[in-house]
Structure formats: C-alpha cells, structure tokens
Amino acid sequence: MANHREHDDTLDEDVRARGSDASILGKVFGALVVLALLTVGIGFLDIDGFIVPGTIRGAGGESFTLTATLAVAEAALIGVFFMRLKDGARFDGLVMMTGLLVAGVLLLYTVADGYHRTHEDRFQGAATNPTTGEHAPGGLAGIGGPCHVAANCLSSACQGASAGQAGQCVTYSAR
C-alpha cells in the first residue's frame, strides 16, 4: 500500500491490477463446488462404519473430522481469493486471524469444560443434576457420570444402578 501515498487523490494502477483474473475466480468457485459436493456426499456415507466395521454411524467422529477439514479448506479459498486476503495488507489478515484465534479459544475452552464436566469433576466432586440438585456439589450429569436413576443423566440412560449402588450414565444409539 506504500505506493498509494504517493498520489493525492486517486489510487494507482497497482491497486486496480489487484482485480483478480476472472478465470482464477471461476476456478476457485469450481473447486468450492467440488468440495461442497464431497461434503454433502460424506453426509450420506457411513464413514465410521467403513473404517471400523460395526461402529455406530457418526460415533467414530471420522465424518466430523472430514467435513470439518473440507469446511476449513472451503473457507480458506473464500478468504484468500474472494475476500482478497492474498492481495490485501497483511494487517487485514492479522485482524481476521485474531478474530478466529479468540473465537477458537472461546470454543475450545467452553466445549472442553462442558465435555469434562460430564466425565469427572475433581474440583467439585461428583456430577449432579442441576434440576434436582442430586449428587451436589457442581458439575453436569451426562455421559459416563455416576447416577442412581435416569433423571440424573441429562441426555442418557442410567445403567447398572441398584439400591445403594451408583450406576453410570450411558448414551442412546440413535443413528
């Protein structure tokens, strides 16, 4: 952008030349369509069952990993070519990356916290049902957590519980 400051009232040819080649933009769109079709295709395939036969569809997480990878690739293409990160000032890219980084930290900590509370909560003790207050103090009842009745498990069944003996929350197999 340094060249721009040499002009008082107009932007120079260098900036106009940044108009990407239309054929490149067309090829990028073609690549995006291919990636989008792959994403849709994965939605119809049982990737997890294919990799490890017998795995409940979606339970292996491979579909999620694949679609997430494709989504990141698509977003990168849009950012670099359609949002012109490849041509713009590096500071613009830094601003966007900062936003992504902060959002990523927010996402990571929130999901990790939610996930681990359903398994163990060393600092607050056993899991609890926030509705009834059972198994206080702290934590959220869920997968793998201790339970006495199904009501202790927010989204799953209580298995193995008997009089005076805690069971374990297990998930349903919906897919």
Partner: protein
C-alpha cells in the same frame, strides 16, 4: 479563493473531508470492514460454542435432530451461497477495473442469489415447523425421519439450529441490503476505476457471510 477552499475544490467528491488521500480513505474503510468481520466471527463463535457444548452433552439428540433436516435443500443452499460469494468477488474485480456495467450485473446476480439462499433455508424451516419441530411451547414432533419417537433433548438441537440459521439469516439480510445500496449507487454512476470502496467492502462482508454457511451447513445437516 483561499488556499484551503482551492484544495477542497480540487479533491474528488467521493473523498471524505477527514482523509488526505484516496489511499488513506481506502485503507481506513478496509480495516474497518475487517474489524467488523472479526467481531462477527466472535459473534458467531458464541453460537458455534453453544453447538459444541450441547452436542457433547447430547450427541444422540443432535444426530437424531440432524436426520430431520433435508440434506439436499441444505446442499443446494451451500452451492447458492458459494455462487453468491463468487458473484461478489466478480463485482469487486469489475469495480477495480472500472467496468460499471459489469459491477451492476454481478451485484444484481449476487443479490438474487442471496434471496434464493433465504428461500431455500426458509423451505427447510417451513418443513420443520409443519412437523412440530419448533423448540419451546410449540414443540410437538411428528412424522419423524428414522425415529419412532423423539430422542430426549432433540428440542435442544432445534434450539441451536434456529439460533444459528436465524442469526445467519440476519447477516444475509444485512448483506442483501448492503449490496442493494451499492447496486443503486453503481447504477447512478458513483463508482469508477478511481473509487470503488463501497463495492469492495460490501463484497468483503458478503463473502464472509457466505463462508459462515460453509461451517454451519455440515454441522447442522450432516454430522
């Protein structure tokens, strides 16, 4: 005539008084738009975080909820969103090269694709509503796909679904309004090879809005 007024009269009409040069105005506009995009990333990040937390807590409900959505309609909306982003990029390119007719043409197509996107999403929302899949007081699931009965906490999935597509639809509507305003100005001949800032900023925001759907679609419809 004073030196100051002479200087002002020499400036192009599109150069705002607080800027000394066109380049300064361009850089300020672009940085401002990127900052807006960065805060929008954080805004959407909160919804995606909610999705992550609830999905970890109720994976079976999210799997069952995802089955109720129409993958084909969602896939079509993804292709339309990508095409809309492409049209926006072409409009910016034409604006940079000073091709006024092309700018109006690409902006018009991008705008129409934005409307088509909202219609496609609306079709799926209508299908959900007709089967009682609205979270809250109107929750009365029926005619479920692949399920004999609703899975516990499936309404949570639809709560996140409607929050995510609702927020995204607001951004799409904002983007359509922004594009329409730029289109009107383009038809009035406000842009030239020396000044195309509004086209580029609208295109930048439009591409971001389309990119959000690249993540939202597979999370809600596929996995």
């Amino acid at each position: 005539m004073s030196a100051e007024s002479a200087s002002a009269s020499a400036s192009p009409r599109w150069l705002a008084p607080q800027y000394e040069t066109a380049a300064q105005q361009y850089e300020a506009a672009k940085l401002g738009t990127w900052l807006f995009v960065a805060q929008a990333i954080l805004f959407f990040g909160a919804v995606f975080a909610a999705y992550g937390v609830f999905r970890v807590g109720h994976p079976e409900a999210f799997g069952a909820g995802s089955l109720q959505l129409n993958k084909w309609v969602g896939g079509a909306s993804l292709i339309v969103a990508l095409a809309a982003a492409w049209m926006g990029a072409l409009a910016v390119r034409s604006a940079q090269l000073g091709k006024r007719d092309e700018v109006a043409r690409w902006l018009g197509v991008a705008l129409l694709l934005g409307v088509a996107f909202l219609v496609l999403v609306g079709v799926d929302v209508g299908a959900c509503a007709s089967r009682g899949l609205l979270p809250g007081a109107h929750w009365s699931p029926r005619h479920l796909v692949g399920l004999a009965a609703p899975v516990p906490y499936m309404s949570t999935f639809f709560g996140v679904y409607f929050a995510m597509i609702g927020l995204h639809a607001l951004y799409v509507l904002g983007g359509i309004g922004w594009l329409a305003w730029v289109l009107v100005r383009a038809n009035k001949g406000d842009f030239s090879k020396d000044y195309w800032n509004p086209v580029e900023m609208a295109g930048l925001h439009w591409a971001f809005v389309c990119a959000v759907w690249v993540f939202a679609y597979p999370l809600l419809y596929l996995v």
